[in-house]
Structure formats: structure tokens, C-alpha cells
């Protein structure tokens, strides 16, 4: 096992298949449970280029090493990009938010009750796709892993049509965040040691417009530490069409285009909620989650209602 601390983006990464670490809060439990066996760690928190939060040239720029607490408490985000600040403030617990980075939050592993377990627990079952095997225990005839992606901040960033800059094989790339998360999920769906070896550096969000409003809603049974059971982020008002994203429902956040169109129309709130239920029935890819019945989970689609006061 090796560790390297980078102090600049120009430092040479010596590991062949590096695991990039911001706060490390996602990977530690996976290592302890022996779900992952990463060997070569590259620590990023000292790189100043990754620690930035500013509006410049018509974009909001968020460095990947910004902590969730820094985002939650940012006056800039709270005043102009509320959904992002709210999402950061509702992730995990204060202690985790103090060290977890937004880059790490976006690149977190997907989760499933069948592999987020100690090794002894998993030893009674064949290895699944995530742990080097060839089955999904959730949906045994599925050709791919069906674990769900649970990031709260990703949903908010996707509602804002964010793009992401990353370094792969020594070259810098920029793409829409939704595509990168989908690519990350596919790679991450295979055995964990085949995670995407990319270094996420910055997020770019088109500058907020005059009159625009946004909000984020997370449902978890407990406010204090739980992963979301469902989350929503809505951006509306201003001149741009409304944009609505939902998370914790599928291997990546989903964009609810039909419901967003309804939000912009004269439809009543009840009609918007009905549209949201309909759209999520098509977009969601549910799996078995601990102590949660499918019926209650489906009833949560209606919780989009909690954001509809933003329409006014």
C-alpha cells in the first residue's frame, strides 16, 4: 500500500492505478469491510487549485477539494445557488461534512445492502459484480450491477446543468456532470478495483440568472446522518426553463424533463405531483433497501411537492 500527497496539479502521480482521496470518508468503510482493496492512494487536499469557490466569466467554479461544510456555509451559494448549499448542508453529519470534499462526494461508490457489509456477512453469498463476481444479488438476471448512487450534491449540480473538469491519462477534459456520473457508475459497477482512475478538479455551473430560485429536498428517516432515500433539486424562475433532478433512485441522478415542463406551465401543484409520480415510475430503478418497503419508497415520489412553493 502506498500513499502520495500531491501539492500541485503538476505533480507527477507515481501510482499506476491511483485512488484519489479528498476527505476519505467514502472509501474508509469500504476498505474496512474489505469491499475494496485499493493499494495506491493519492491525497489531494493540499492542492490549492482544487480549493476554489468563485463566480468568474459567467460561471460558478467549485474546486473539487472544497469541503461540504464550506459549500453549505458559503454566502455566495446560499444567496445565488441555494440548492447546492442546501444539498451540501444535508449530507451526512457535521463531522463528515467538515472533512468530506465535493469531488469525493460526486465520485462516491454506489451502495447496496449486499456489498456494504463486512466480509463475513458477504461470505455466505457468491461475489457480486461490485466485488469481483458475476451476479447482481438485487436482480439476479441483470447483466450489470444495480446499486444506487446516493450523492445529494450531484442532484443539485445536475439541476444546475453543471459540467466537470477532470484529468485522465495526463490530459484535461471537460464534460457534463451527468455523463461523467453515468460513466463512473458503469465502471464502478464492475469490481471495485476497476474504478475510474480520473482526478476530478473543478465543477462549472452556468451563472444564476436574475429572478431564479432553487431548492433541494432530501428525504431520509433521520435528519442527522442517513443517506437519502430520495432527493430532489429544482431550479426555476428567471428566463431559463425549469430543471428538476432526482437522486437515490437509480445508478445515477435522473432528470425529470416532463415534470419540469409541467412546473413551468399553468398546471396545478397536484398535476405536477401526479406527473412526477408518473415520470419517476419510468425513470427509477428501485432495489431492495434496508428497512424500507417498496410501497413507502414509491410514495416518496410525491415529495416533489416540498419544492413546489418555489414556483410562486
Amino acid at each position: 500500500m502506498s500513499g502520495q500527497v500531491l501539492e500541485s496539479l503538476h505533480d507527477v502521480v507515481s501510482a499506476e492505478h491511483p485512488t484519489y482521496i479528498g476527505g476519505g470518508t467514502d472509501i474508509m468503510p469500504l476498505l474496512k469491510n474489505e469491499v475494496r482493496d485499493d493499494k495506491d492512494f493519492v491525497f489531494l487536499k493540499k492542492i490549492p487549485e482544487l480549493h476554489v469557490l468563485e463566480e468568474k466569466d459567467g460561471e460558478l467554479i467549485i474546486g473539487a477539494a472544497m469541503t461540504l461544510t464550506e459549500l453549505a456555509e458559503s454566502a455566495l451559494l446560499n444567496s445565488r445557488y441555494a440548492a447546492i448549499a442546501q444539498a451540501a448542508s444535508l449530507t451526512a453529519s457535521p463531522q463528515i461534512r467538515n472533512i468530506a470534499t465535493v469531488g469525493g462526494n460526486i465520485m462516491q461508490d454506489r451502495r447496496c445492502i449486499y456489498f456494504n457489509q463486512p466480509h463475513l456477512w458477504r461470505s455466505g453469498l457468491p461475489y457480486c459484480f461490485k466485488t469481483g463476481g458475476s451476479i447482481c444479488h438485487q436482480i439476479p438476471n441483470s447483466p450489470v450491477c444495480r446499486a444506487i448512487y446516493y450523492s445529494d450534491v450531484a442532484t443539485a449540480l445536475i439541476a444546475y446543468e453543471a459540467e466537470v473538469e477532470y484529468i485522465e491519462d495526463g490530459e484535461t477534459h471537460r464534460t457534463d456532470l451527468k455523463s461523467l456520473i453515468e460513466r463512473h457508475s458503469v465502471a464502478n459497477g464492475l469490481a471495485c478495483h476497476e474504478h475510474l482512475p480520473i482526478l476530478v478538479t473543478r465543477f462549472f455551473v452556468p451563472a444564476a440568472e436574475e429572478g431564479e430560485r432553487s431548492g433541494f429536498y432530501k428525504y431520509a428517516m433521520r435528519t442527522t446522518i442517513d443517506f437519502p432515500i430520495i432527493n430532489f433539486a429544482l431550479r426555476c424562475g428567471g428566463n431559463r426553463p425549469a430543471r428538476l433532478a432526482a437522486g437515490a433512485l437509480a445508478p445515477h441522478p435522473v432528470v425529470m424533463a416532463e415534470t419540469a415542463a409541467k412546473i413551468d406551465s399553468d398546471a396545478t401543484d397536484d398535476e405536477v405531483i401526479a406527473q412526477a409520480e408518473d415520470e419517476l415510475r419510468k425513470l427509477a430503478m428501485p432495489i431492495k433497501e434496508a428497512c424500507m418497503t417498496p410501497a413507502v419508497k414509491r410514495s416518496l415520489y410525491r415529495h416533489v411537492a416540498m419544492l413546489l412553493n418555489l414556483r410562486k
Binding site: 463486512p118 463475513l120 456477512w121 442517513d226 428497512c291 413507502v296 410514495s299 415529495h303 412553493n309
Partner: protein
Amino acid sequence: MTIYSCSQTVFQERRILAELFDLKEVDVHIIKPLVGAGFGARQQLHAQHAAALISRKIKRPVKLLYSREEDFYSVVRHASDVDLRIGADKNGKLQLFDTTFRLNAGPYTTHTPTVVAAAARKLQYNVPNYSFIGLSVFTNHVTGGAFRGYGNTQLTFGREILMDRLAQKLDMDPVEFRLMNHVQVGECFPCASIPVSSNGIEDCARRCQQIQKEIDEKEPLIDDENIRQAWGISFSCHGSGPSSKEGLSGAVVMLNADASVHLLVGSADIGQGSETMESQIAAECLGIPLSSVQITAADTGLTPYNTGTFGSSQTFICGNAVKLACDDLKKKMVEQLKVIYDGCTVKEKDHRYYISGGEELELSFEDAARKILFAPKGSVPIGAGTYKAAACPNPFSVCFVKAEYHKKLNAIRLMDIIEVVDVGTPINRLTVAGQLEGGIAQGVGYALYERMEINPRSRRTLSTDFLHYRIPQMGDMPRTYVDMVNSHDPYGPHGAKSVGELATVPVAPAIVNAVRRASGIEINSLPLCDKFAILPTERGNVK
């Protein structure tokens, strides 16, 4: 053999291990370190004998720790399946209580039969026709064991929901319906032979109503197209000792020349503050400051026998033993002063000693202590007491909960919880309030989201970490109000009764009664997260 064990029952462990290893009890030394919690789980042997066997084999000290997962499934609260019927005449007088009470023991029993039996003895209403069939059921699930409430939680859940439904059918106020049927002082619980010695249930209910009124004046109940709010209530009781009448405790108090004392008790403090409580009883009895009492507890090599910290027994049983030990000490001090002041009359009043006859003297407790220890005809003053509880008085509780139902979301939110108790004279109001608040939190978790889930595919437990086995944290708790009414039990030490398990018992049915009144949906099972989305009490979402 010396074992450091965070046990609730050190003397039971000593007995069992001595038998297992064919040793004399005097050769097995169990020491409980200063570690809290237990709630019943540490009321049985876990790995102590395994560690002892390995240590014997390798002739080295051995430390055995459970992983978090093992800790979770080593023992759980009994799941229950209850058939229950209650009936009343048209005037609202209860006539029938008929139950078949099944508890899920798991693959073998530890406490199941006694948990079943204990539930039978907590019916606090006058019911002329009472039938209780209790069954311990073997299943291929996790082993059920002792947990705070010990069967009372499970049966009171069903009972108080049915009481609410019956009150509604009779068109009676749910509080008045319960009060009119409640056992009073001098009366016996159904199938009990010893009468109730103190009962502040009506005062508890009135105090709850007073707090409820204050809340409603600030925030009237909402009933609109989106939200309906409602209050739900429940009554409960518990015991102040094991219902098997086996509670036994000894206490020893050793006096020093400066009037400080060493207090030795066998009871295990598991975070409920029993050592503080016992020290306070001693200080009160002897008229000395609390800082002059040094307590040693739960060490089988140093302290006298105690059945164990279970059945909410330490205040009543060990507290009475401490009081008896202090009374014994004072009696011996008087006797010794009579020897020292030969021919004089010696009387003790309000912690002062009055010598009259040949000499006229008034001694403080400290002067008397010094005299007794250092006089030519002195002695070593040691007081000893034991208390065996043939019967333990019942503490009582009333719980009110305000909940709201979100009609379009099928979601519920807890707003306020009030719990007022009759625990006799509280020895320490702060620790009693702490017990109430902690017990309420456990009741909230029990009602809303706790479950030990077995995954059918892996045949293993899914909820064996604190992420998946959800218990409420501070941010998840509704506004909580607790209080104690003025009461005094003639048999309790300084009038005290228990509080530990009582605190949890009424919470789940009060929550369900509030939710059923708010939603109009009848509820027969827990946890409520199976039926409703649980909205947290503080939302940090859309501002």
C-alpha cells in the same frame, strides 16, 4: 479467576462461572468497570465463559470483543404477535381483557418465559375477567433477550391502542375513560395479591393536560387540506423490582473518624445513576454531605450480594438496603456511645447525639464518629442492611403525543411528547428527568423505525450497524417535556419508586394513538415507517 465484565448482574455471573468451572464462588472475582448502558442486553452471559476458558488454556489474560454486528444480533428485544380483546359495558367500565401473547424467542430461550410472564403483571385497570395466555415461540430468528420494558412494552402497546379505540366507540374522553377504570390505592391489579401502595396517575394526567393546553395555546391544532394534527395518549405502569419477587440486595456502610463513609453495594450502575442515588440516600440518612460518601459497587470481591440491575430495581431494593444499612450504623453508634458513656442515656435525633445522666453532652455526627473510633471503649462502626422485596410498588406514567399527518404525502411528523410520572419521591430529579428523556427517545425509535431485519437471500441480519438500525438522534427528537408529580410510597427509600423502564413503555402507543387520530388509519403494528414516510422534526430543505 478474575473477570472484568460490563455486566448488569455480576453476582449471577459469578454463580454461573463458578458452576461451569467447578470453582468456589469466593475464587471467582467479577469486577464491573465504569461503563454504562446495557438496557437488558448485559443481563445474560455473552462471551465471559469463552474468554475464561481460553485464558485458562493459554495461561494469559484474554480480552474478547464483539464486532458491532455481533453486538447487535447477540440479543434483541422480543418481537411480539399479540391477539387482544378488551370489552366494557355501556357506562365505560371495563369487563374483559383477553390476550394471547406470543414472543419471538429465536432459536433458544434466554429470558423469554420471564418476559412473557412479566407482561401479565402490568395490567393497571380494574378488569373482573382477565385471561392471559403467554407463549414463548421458537423461531429461526435472532435470540430475544431482556430489553428495557421486558414484555410490558409489547403488551401495553396493544392495550393502550385498544383502550383508545374503545374510548372513541363509547364517545368518552380517553383520559377520563382510563382514569375511571384505573386501580386505586388499596386495590390490587388483576390477578395480583398485594395492593397498590401509592398512585399518582391522576396527577400525572392532569399535569400532562396542563402542558398540552400551554402548547395548544401557542400552536393550535391544524386541520386543513394538507395537514391534520392530533393528540394521542397512553397510560402505563411498571414495577420497582423483578416481578418474580427475587430482588435482593445488601449494603454495607463503614464510618470514618471524620464522618465520611465508605458505601459498598452490589448493584451495577449502567448509566442510570444508581451510584449517585445510593450515595444520596446514604448522605440523607446520615445527615452528611454527598461528597462525604465514597461508593464502591458491583465488585464481587468487595461488595455485598445484589441480584442484579434489572427490573428497575436498584432504587427500591438497593436503596432500601442502603437505608437499612445506615439505620443499622446509627443504631450501633448509639449502642457504642452507651458503652462509652456508661450509665448515661443516649439518644439520636436529627443526626445529633444527646448524652444525659452522668454527663450532659450534645455531639455532632462527626464528634460521635471520632469518639466511637478513638475512645478507650470504642469500636469500628459498620452498618449492614439487606432488603428482599416480596413486593415492589408500581410507578405510573402518562404520555401525551402530538403528531401531524400529511394527507397528500402519507407522511407523519412528531411535534411534541409529554411524559409525566409518579415515581414516588425522586431521589435525584435530574437523573430521573434524564431517564425520562432517554426512555422517550427509545420509545420514539421503537415506534418509528427500529427493526431487526433478516435478509432472506443471505439469511443474515441486514440491520446490524447504526446506519441501518435506525435509532433517533438529538436532531430527530420532537419537543420533549417531562415532569414528576408529588408522590410518596410508604415502602420506598425516602418514598421513592423506580423510573428506568417505565419511561419507555407508554411512548409507542401514545405515538400510534396520535397518528391514528390524525390520519384516520387504524394501526396494529410497528415500526410506523412500514406504513408512512416519517418526516423529520426539523427540516433543513427549502428555505
